[in-house]
Amino acid sequence: MHRADPDTPFSEPEIYDEVAYAYDGTLEGLLSAIFAAYERHENPTDVVPESHLQPRLGQRVAAIPTNMNHAARVLRGVKRACGWRAAHAVKQASCSDEPDAGTAAYRFVRYAMDEQKLRACDRCRKRASCKGRGGTGPCPKMRGRALSDITHPAVERLFRISRSISQECEHMRQFVRFQHLRGESEGGGTSTEVWFARVSPKASVVPLVMDHFVERLGVQPFIIYDEVHELAGVYDGGDWHLVATAGQGDLAGALPDPTADEALLSEAWRAFYRSVSVGARYHPELRRQFMPKRFWKSLTELQESPASLRRPTS
């Protein structure tokens, strides 16, 4: 959509086609849907994962098949024209559980690409040496700009989604708690060990935090299992990959036993947590603000000690 007059950005109402694009919920699916909008010369009202799709009255639904080549092209284009930050924000939006995250990403890409076309090169001092001369390529001056126009309705939503995903990632980095599990012994008699963490985040952020944990805990194979999105990030000591566990049933029974020192160290951590608090400064609402209650069920320090380790308190 080209705006007639760039000086009055909000005056003209956007007109959308009465069509919803349904994609498979992955990043590649979302990018394919964005590609399809350009390919079909349509401006869809909604771009949503199939699972969240609720067609509006009289709305046509187009199921968009995921195409890896198209996805790669869109991602490369966004990165080239709008900078890596914008591309990262789009990636984050694809992890969000918000029903309008796909639409927000699509609207942003549409807006950012249009902004690229609207630029005025004639008074630019670098126009002689610029690669994007004559509106044919990306303009380096415009690259980061689209994402920083935060108050524009097309950017604001994506900005907010991106920020909430970043926050959820930070919560994961803070509150993931690993358990040391014994693992099954292999043929040679050596037993494999695995460090296991169970999380239930508000968005599917496991793919976004795996790099962080691989960097710092690279010496131990681990699994971060997202119960809500039924997705496990598995690190085997060399590389990490994602495993979708939908339809496999509850995995709790399949877990091996914890190692001998697991109970001891988790109890030590609980003891530390109990004794490090200063009673005279008791301020539970502050704690709840920093550490929301939804995380408490997976936090070792807030669980009851097992009866065998409990000591009588005087």
Binding site: S148, T151, E156, R177, R216, F272, S275, R281, L286, F290
Partner: protein
Amino acid sequence: MNVIEKLEVLADAAKYDVACTSSGVQRSGKKGQLGAAHQAGCCHSFTPDGRCVTLLKVLMTNACVYDCAYCVNRASNAAVPRTAFTPRELADLTIGFYRRNYIEGLFLSSGVAGCPDRTTELMVQALRILREEYGFRGYIHTKTIPGTSLELIDELGRLSDRLSVNLELPSKQSLGLLAPNKSRHSILTPMRHIFESVAEDKESRALAQRRTTVYREKRMARKTRAFAPAGQSTQMIIGATPESDYQILNLSAALYTQLSLKRVFFSAYLPVVADPLLPATDAVQLNREHRLYQADWLLRYYGFNVSEIIDEKNPFLAPDVDPKANWALNHLDFFPVEVNTAPLEALLRVPGIGVRGARLILRARRQSTLGEAELRRLGIAYKRARYFITMNGAYGGSGIDFSRDALHARLSAPIEGGRHGRRADRAVQGQMSLFEAVDAPPVLPEASPANRAALDVAFEAQRRALAQPAAIGAPARAGESERPPILGADTSPAECGGASQEGAPHGDAVCEPLLSVA
């Protein structure tokens, strides 16, 4: 005692150390080694008092030969069981916790078992096991003990990311009185040494990177550790002694400018052991501590000068409005600020606009003109900011008198919070209630008459103790005057000549800061 019991005792003894940060150093992970450090740090848990747990904060031992009046581990306190970690136990515990993502690293402090050097050697042993044997790349914060030899501090600095020396109390007199085994000299010497070592290390690293010939510099296969790359911090107790906010803030400004400290922490005094020289009150001065931290942030991030925040005539920060709002109320001629054109420095002066908000404004206004709706969308505290800004010429706070009193009433209205915990019985100051008698305005516990009286009794006792030449503090101070002055800029002849020992009345002039702004 097993390890868990030891941990309980030694964590309990360390909990009054307020510093718990894992920030200031960025270190990537390495194949085959455990750990990494992130510039912004990471809080892994929060205790019921709302403070974060980012490091395993423990003492090496809580046995201590020092007898500091305010400390739970003082030698004369028989109620505390004494114990110590072996270096191996501590290192194993750290690794075990780190692997489970409980912590970001280790915060190691210690009581003084025997002599400072002996204790520090134990700490060095533990850190060596962590860094060299286990190849741990996580964060380590070490507290150095006053009186440790500088060689051992060098060793600690190579193994830790951040070092800290506690100032404990803001003035020399109070320190001599309440911590007789520590002195200004024994605290400032290691601080200065750490400052110099960090600066020297940075400079030599910068020089080594400069290439002057065509030959490439030969790199060592094993990289040397930087000296305390995350700098140093300190902490002091607030409210145990009569120093004013003016003295405290000037001291911290001097520490930031002269010794390049990364943080100065304040710890509201909390009675842990009874002592006639200390206030016996349970009303912790949390509000005062909070205001001091706000002022500290203004110094470090908002470009305020300490003389703008506080002056000698009003030596205490206003309890009802924050220091930034207070500055704004006293400088109404600076406002209103036009958000669409004002520079960053001016935006940072507006109450309700923080560092993050100001940067967002700069970013957003390149493309669009900011009005009320846009500012709200950016997450600015518009409710507070509106009295001090214009948006494309339109004043945001119309309808309210642009005077100090009217705006003060607006800004001192409390922020609506939860109804649980500390805020539960806090009512709006001066607001009439349908159900209560009007003649009993609610007050914060720390401002209650009982609390005030307890403070006065303690400060009077301190004054009397200082006035006696043979008081507890005198030997320490007498010993100090024999040593050469360590900071040329601020050592007055009176201080070295021993004028302060002649039993001068403990008035305002006697609270001599440990360090002053040059």
